[in-house]
C-alpha cells in the first residue's frame, strides 16, 4: 500500500516537475500539463497497442512526438503571451487543456484504453507484501528521470543556459542566448517528461480523456513542494500520493480525494513559499 502510494505520488511528482520547469522559465503556469500527460498516454496506446510496436520503441517514439508537440505549441501559442498578466496565462493554458481534451476525444473516442507492457501482470513478493511490477517501474522511472534531469541542469551547457534564461530573460538576451528557442526547448522538455509520466501511468490506470484532471492534483504537489525546487516538488508529489492512500483508509469517506487540496491550503497559509524552498516576498 505504501508502495502504491509512492508510485501514485511519483506520477504527481513527474507532472509537477513539468509545471515547475515551465514556470521557472517563463512564469507561465501550464494548466495543460495534465492534458499533455493524457496526450502522451494516448500516443503510447496508439503506438504500442494499436500499431503493435515493441514497448520500448513505442515509449521512445511517444516521448519524441510529445517533445515535438510541446515545441510547436510554444512556437504557435505560448510564445506570444509570455510576460502577460497572470490571469491571461492561466486562462490561456486552461483553455489549451480543453482544446487538447476535445481533440483527444475526437481522435481516440471516449472509451478508456490501456497498454500492456512486458512486465504487466507480474507480481513481486517481499516478505508479506505483494507489489506489482508496474508500480516499481513508475518509481524506478522517476528516480532515473530525476537523476538525468539533475545531471542535465547541473552539468550540460544547455542546462545552464536554461537556468540562466529562467532567472533573467533580458540578461540572457544580452549574453547572446537565443532565448526564444531555449524557452521552446524547455516546454518541449516538460512535455516529454509528462509523456513519460503518462506512459508509466497507463498500465496502472485506464487511459481516457479525464486523465488530464490529475494535473490539478499535481499542482497541489507542486505547491506543497515549493514550486521552484525540482527535488522539493518530487517530494511534495510523494507526500500527496502517500497521504491520499492513508486518508482513504483511516479518514472518513470523501476526505481522500481532497486531502491534497487541504494540505495545499494549509501549506499556503503556514509557509506560502512551500515546504522546501527559498523565495522572497515584497515588503514595504
Amino acid at each position: 500500500m505504501i508502495v502504491s502510494g509512492i508510485a501514485q505520488g511519483c506520477i504527481y511528482g513527474m507532472i509537477a516537475l513539468g509545471f515547475v520547469m515551465v514556470y521557472k522559465a517563463t512564469e507561465i503556469l501550464n494548466f495543460a500539463q495534465g492534458d499533455f500527460m493524457m496526450l502522451g498516454a494516448f500516443l503510447g496506446v496508439t503506438f504500442i497497442t494499436l500499431m503493435n510496436m515493441p514497448y520500448w520503441l513505442g515509449f521512445v517514439l511517444t516521448i519524441v512526438c510529445m517533445a515535438l508537440i510541446g515545441y510547436l505549441l510554444d512556437l504557435l501559442i505560448l510564445r506570444r503571451v509570455i510576460g502577460q498578466p497572470t490571469f491571461a496565462l492561466v486562462i490561456l493554458t486552461i483553455s489549451l487543456g480543453f482544446v487538447i481534451r476535445a481533440l483527444a476525444g475526437g481522435i481516440w473516442g471516449g472509451d478508456p484504453k490501456s497498454i500492456s507492457t512486458p512486465y504487466s501482470g507480474k507480481l513481486l513478493n517481499i516478505g508479506s507484501a505483494i507489489i506489482a511490477y508496474e508500480q516499481i517501474a513508475v518509481i524506478a522511472g522517476t528516480v532515473i528521470l530525476t537523476t538525468l534531469l539533475y545531471v542535465f541542469f547541473r552539468f550540460s551547457k544547455m542546462g545552464v543556459v536554461m537556468q540562466a534564461t529562467s532567472q533573467n530573460q533580458l540578461a540572457a538576451y544580452y549574453m547572446g542566448i537565443p532565448v526564444k528557442m531555449v524557452l521552446s526547448l524547455i516546454i518541449a522538455l516538460s512535455a516529454a517528461v509528462s509523456a513519460i509520466a503518462g506512459i508509466l501511468l497507463a498500465p496502472i490506470s485506464m487511459v481516457d480523456t479525464e486523465l488530464g484532471f490529475m494535473g490539478i492534483k499535481a499542482f497541489a504537489a507542486a505547491v506543497i513542494g515549493g514550486f521552484v525546487s525540482l527535488p522539493g516538488v518530487l517530494l511534495g508529489g510523494i507526500l500527496v500520493g502517500l497521504s491520499e492512500q492513508f486518508a482513504s483508509i483511516y479518514l472518513p469517506q470523501g476526505v481522500s480525494p481532497v486531502i491534497a487540496y487541504i494540505m495545499m491550503i494549509v501549506v499556503l497559509v503556514i509557509r506560502p513559499e512551500g515546504l522546501f524552498s527559498k523565495i522572497h516576498r515584497k515588503k514595504v
Binding site: 506570444r80 510576460g83 486562462i91 530573460q169
Partner: protein
C-alpha cells in the same frame, strides 16, 4: 467628440457624466423592460440566465477586474449561495430574508477565505482558490443532511408575499431587478474610498501600501463583497434550474466565470455583462451549428469546452482587452475619425524577470 467641462469636484465622480449616458442607458432599460412582450418563453428564460451570470460576473469583476485578485474558485460561492438559500427556504423563511441571508453567508465564507489567501498573489492565489472550490464541491457531495448529497435537491419556487413566481417573465423581472441593483451598488462602491483602494491594490500593491491603504483589510472586503454578489447569483441560479446538485458547481463553472470576465474585458462592468451575454449565446450557437456538422465531429465528447477554449485562446492572443476593449476601440475610431492610430492601444513588450532571487 464631446469635451466635458468640469466646474465642481463632484463632477469627477458623477455616475451620469453627461446626457448621453442618461439617454443610452435609459433606452437600454426600456428595451430590457419591454422584451418579455416580444419574446417567447424559452428566450426569456435564457435571458434571465444571462442576467444571473452577469450578476456573478459583476461579483467576480470586483475581485479580479478591480482588485486584481484572480479567483479560480467562484463556483464555490455560487454553490454556497444556492445551498444556503434553499436551506433557509426549507426552514420556512420568506424569500427576501433567505436571499439576503444566503448572500451574507457567502460573504462570510469569502471573508474567511480571504484571511489566509490574501497573503498570496497572482498564481498562488489562483491555485489556492481552485483548491478551495474543489473542497467546497466535495463538501457539497458528502454533507448529505444539508445539501442532499450527490442526488441533489429540488428548489421551491420563489414566493413574494404569498404569491409564487412561476412564469418565466416574472422570474425575468426578478433577475433584472437584482442585476440593476447590483450594478448600481458596484458603481457606487467604485467611487467610494473603498473602491479606490481596490483599484490602487490592483495597480500596485506596494504603492497602495505606501499610500496608507490597509491592503489585507481591503482585500478581505473585496473577497467578501464579491462572494456576496456571487452568492446572490447562486441563489437565483438555483431557482432558474429549480434543482441543485454538486456537479453544477464544478471547476468548469469556475473557469467559465473567469472566462466571462476576461472575454468581456477586465476592469469594466460592461465587460462582465458582455461576457455574460457571450457565455449565454455561445452554447446556443454551438447547439444550432451541431445540426450542420458531420456526425463524427458533433458527437465528440468535450466539444463544447474545446470550442470555448479555442475562442479564449484567440481572444487572449489577439484581443486581450476583451469585447469591451474592442468596443472602446471602435468608439474611439469614430470619435476622432480620420486620426485613429492602431498604436493607441498597443502594449509594451515586457520581459519576464523572476522575483526569485536565487
Amino acid at each position: 467628440m464631446r469635451v466635458l467641462f468640469k466646474t465642481k469636484y463632484l463632477d469627477d465622480i458623477r455616475l451620469i457624466k453627461h446626457s448621453g449616458y442618461a439617454i443610452s442607458y435609459g433606452l437600454l432599460l426600456v428595451v430590457a423592460l419591454l422584451l418579455p412582450q416580444f419574446l417567447g418563453e424559452f428566450y426569456i428564460g435564457e435571458l434571465a440566465q444571462v442576467f444571473i451570470f452577469a450578476i456573478a460576473g459583476v461579483g467576480l469583476m470586483i475581485l479580479t477586474g478591480y482588485t486584481g485578485q484572480v479567483s479560480l474558485g467562484h463556483a464555490a460561492f455560487l454553490a454556497i449561495g444556492a445551498y444556503a438559500h434553499v436551506f433557509f427556504l426549507e426552514m420556512g423563511l420568506p424569500f427576501m430574508l433567505s436571499f439576503i441571508l444566503a448572500g451574507l453567508i457567502s460573504a462570510a465564507v469569502g471573508g474567511l477565505l480571504a484571511i489566509p489567501v490574501s497573503r498570496l498573489s497572482g498564481l498562488y492565489l489562483a491555485i489556492a482558490t481552485l483548491g478551495f472550490a474543489i473542497i467546497v464541491e466535495d463538501i457539497a457531495k458528502h454533507w448529505s443532511s444539508v445539501t442532499g448529497g450527490l442526488g441533489g435537491k429540488m428548489v421551491p419556487a420563489p414566493k413574494f408575499f404569498g404569491h409564487e413566481i412561476w412564469t418565466a417573465w416574472e422570474f425575468y423581472y426578478l433577475c433584472l431587478a437584482v442585476l440593476i441593483l447590483i450594478v448600481l451598488a458596484t458603481l457606487n462602491l467604485l467611487r467610494t474610498p473603498t473602491g479606490r483602494a481596490f483599484v490602487a491594490i490592483r495597480d500596485s500593491e506596494t504603492s497602495a501600501r505606501c499610500m496608507g491603504v490597509n491592503v489585507a483589510r481591503y482585500k478581505t472586503s473585496a473577497f467578501a463583497i464579491s462572494a456576496a454578489f456571487t452568492g446572490f447569483a447562486g441563489a437565483l441560479l438555483a431557482h432558474r434550474l429549480s434543482y441543485i446538485s454538486p456537479d453544477i458547481y464544478n471547476i468548469i463553472t469556475s473557469i467559465q466565470l473567469l472566462m466571462m470576465v476576461v472575454v468581456g474585458g477586465l476592469g469594466s462592468i460592461h465587460g462582465a455583462i458582455f461576457g455574460a451575454v457571450f457565455i449565454g449565446v455561445l452554447p446556443q450557437a454551438l447547439a444550432i451549428s451541431k445540426d450542420f456538422l458531420p456526425l463524427a465531429i458533433s458527437q465528440t465528447p468535450g466539444l463544447e469546452p474545446g470550442v470555448f477554449g479555442l475562442i479564449l485562446i484567440l481572444f487572449i492572443i489577439y484581443d486581450p482587452q476583451g469585447l469591451y476593449g474592442r468596443w472602446l476601440k471602435i468608439k474611439l475610431f469614430f470619435d476622432i475619425f480620420p486620426l485613429y492610430r492602431k498604436s493607441t492601444f498597443k502594449k509594451q513588450k515586457s520581459y519576464t524577470k523572476t522575483e526569485r532571487l536565487r
